[in-house]
């Protein structure tokens, strides 16, 4: 997965930077360097225009009217679902539930799939490197059911302790929920190995793919996971929209998560017949423009190819790590052998928040703080880190600007 730090020209992907209007601006007197895509990525004009055109011409409620606009809206919405299905290679469009984001997708599984199954004494396995959105829903579930939350430890590089995981995967484990890629450390977890271990024990696995989908080709059938959750706004799409992939037979057996319009076939006061998949899980008027925008983001990514995205990002990540390590006093946090293009770091004893301000003043956007992964910070004994995350629109100049600004920060704090 780790690319060699080669010098292969990547003209096609380099040209893509011009597709992103937000990247064409000056911030604090400097051309913007955006290194915070793991928090939220920028949108290409193709996505922005698709959303705007939908709002200008095609907006109506979906699955309801017989009029033309309602048809157009429904076609655009359902068309996006088909694109998403193909993008992650789900077997059927019934397996693609459109949600408000990864967080809702995970909560849906916790409440609708796990809650009816779990009994006191059962356990749910997560890991030490999870985002809060893959911790708190399980804590709530455990409070509700009396189940126990078990946390697989990580090593100093930020890699899962596979030996511990194997031991912890005992007969009490009823569910496993794991990040595909750590948002704070970049570690790519060996999810296929874990899923095959879980299969032997007949334990279902959910992958939090919020940081996986933006960086690599995802094939849910090849991964063999039971659920895969991800968000639009980390993969060049808009905020407020996400996806839950679930195996059809599992989704079929699950009760609805929320009640309302669109998730029903027939309602009377003596009872309600739920709609078929995936609509059973899409109560209420959905985020139509968001879903349409996500469809456009999928088109955009596929026009480049996720393998090309990954090659470009891996090459840049190697360059980023090399250049950072040349700075005296730098400490890289997260050095797993398999990593996505995310790098947390500390510089001398400068607080990450101070680094963030100095960098912002140079027009450089990074994330500072706990990255919604406080247990990871506690594991490394840090209040937070500075984190640079790369997307397909970043280049070596961005990294050179980052390094120059970090040297300036050292000067200010010297």
């Amino acid at each position: 997965m780790q690319a060699q730090p080669g010098r292969r020209p990547s003209s096609t992907i380099e040209n893509r930077r011009a597709d992103f209007p937000a990247l064409q601006q000056m911030v604090n007197g400097h051309p913007l360097v955006y290194l915070d895509s793991a928090a939220s990525s920028q949108m290409p004009a193709a996505v922005i225009d698709t959303i705007a055109n939908y709002q200008r011409q095609d907006h109506a409620n979906v699955h309801r009217g017989v009029h033309t606009l309602s048809h157009r809206a429904t076609d655009a919405y359902e068309g996006a679902r088909d694109k998403i299905r193909a993008f992650v290679n789900a077997a059927s469009r019934s397996e693609i539930v459109l949600t408000s984001g990864t967080t809702e997708s995970i909560n849906l599984v916790a409440q609708s799939y796990c809650r009816p199954l779990l009994r006191a004494g059962d356990s749910v396995l997560i890991s030490h490197l999870e985002h809060h959105s893959n911790i708190v829903p399980w804590q709530l579930l455990c409070e509700q059911t009396g189940a126990v939350l078990c946390v697989v430890p990580i090593d100093n590089a930020g890699q899962l302790d596979m030996q511990a995981l194997t031991t912890m995967l005992d007969d009490s484990v009823r569910f496993i929920a794991l990040a595909h890629v750590s948002n704070a450390l970049g570690s790519i977890n060996p999810v296929k190995d874990i899923i095959s271990l879980a299969r032997q024990k007949d334990v279902p696995v959910l992958l939090d793919g919020a940081q996986g989908v933006p960086h690599m080709a995802i094939d849910v059938q090849d991964l063999d996971c039971d659920f895969y959750a991800f968000s639009g706004h980390k993969m060049l799409g808009p905020t407020g929209v996400g996806v839950l992939y679930g195996r059809e037979f599992l989704l079929d057996a699950m009760p609805p998560y929320q009640g309302g319009g669109d998730m029903i076939l027939e309602v009377s006061f003596s009872g309600t017949t739920y709609n078929e998949l995936p609509y059973k899980f899409e109560a209420g008027t959905p985020n139509i423009s968001g879903v349409v925008g996500l469809g456009a983001a999928v088109d955009y990514l596929q026009s480049i190819g996720m393998h090309e995205v990954q090659r470009h990002e891996q090459e840049l990540l190697a360059y980023l790590m090399d250049e950072l390590q040349k700075i005296p006093g730098i400490r890289l946090i997260g050095t797993a052998a398999q990593k996505a293009s995310v790098q947390s770091f500390m510089l001398d004893d400068i607080h990450p928040h101070d680094l963030g301000t100095i960098l912002d003043h140079q027009g450089i956007a990074i994330r500072t703080g706990h990255h919604c992964a406080m247990p990871v910070m506690q594991r490394f004994g840090l209040p937070g880190t500075a984190r640079a995350s790369l997307s397909l629109y970043n280049n070596r100049d961005d990294i050179d600007r980052l390094v120059a600004a970090l040297l300036q920060a050292k000067q200010i704090f010297s």
Partner: protein, 159 residues
């Protein structure tokens, strides 16, 4: 380009003045105050700054001792350190007055009035106004002081 960088440096140096960096590196009155009569915690959830502020008041509502502990960015630590330096020996109403004048200045950037002339070395914090994302760091200790004086049970937060 050189001039741009110099100007940027000037603005940053205005934020990270020598006095601020000095207090951040070697905070004054750092540690628990065992004889404290008032205490409050301050939390800035955005960046993880957390501090605990201790005050010792005598019968005449005079602050005889103050200290803090915790961790945070240079701005929040320096501000807490400057706070303790400033308020020791003050009457409570005077300390609250300083707190509200400083907080107002940081929020509005208005440092022209006569009151701010009383702020002494706290003026080193005025540069923070140009960095709106950092105002909460600078005011954290002051919120904690206000809540310690009110003896509030819930921690002060910047949110």
């Amino acid at each position: 380009m050189t001039t741009t960088i110099n100007r940027d440096n000037d603005e940053l140096r205005d934020l990270y003045r020598e006095l601020i960096l000095d207090h951040a590196r070697s905070p004054r009155h750092f540690g628990k105050l065992h004889a404290a009569t008032h205490m409050a915690r301050g939390i800035n959830p955005l960046c993880g700054d957390r501090l605990q502020l201790f005050l010792q008041l005598d019968g005449d509502q005079r602050i005889t001792e103050a200290s803090f502990e915790g961790s945070g960015c240079a701005i929040s630590v320096a501000s807490a350190s400057l706070l303790t330096d400033t308020i020791i020996g003050m009457q409570v109403p005077a300390a609250l007055e300083v707190s509200s004048t400083l907080t107002e200045q940081l929020r509005t950037g208005d440092s022209g009035d006569a009151e701010s002339a009383q702020l002494g070395k706290l003026k080193a914090l005025f540069g923070v106004h140009e960095f709106p994302a950092r105002v909460k760091c600078a005011t954290l200790a002051w919120h904690a002081m206000n809540s310690a004086i009110r003896n509030s049970a819930t921690p002060a937060t910047t949110e």
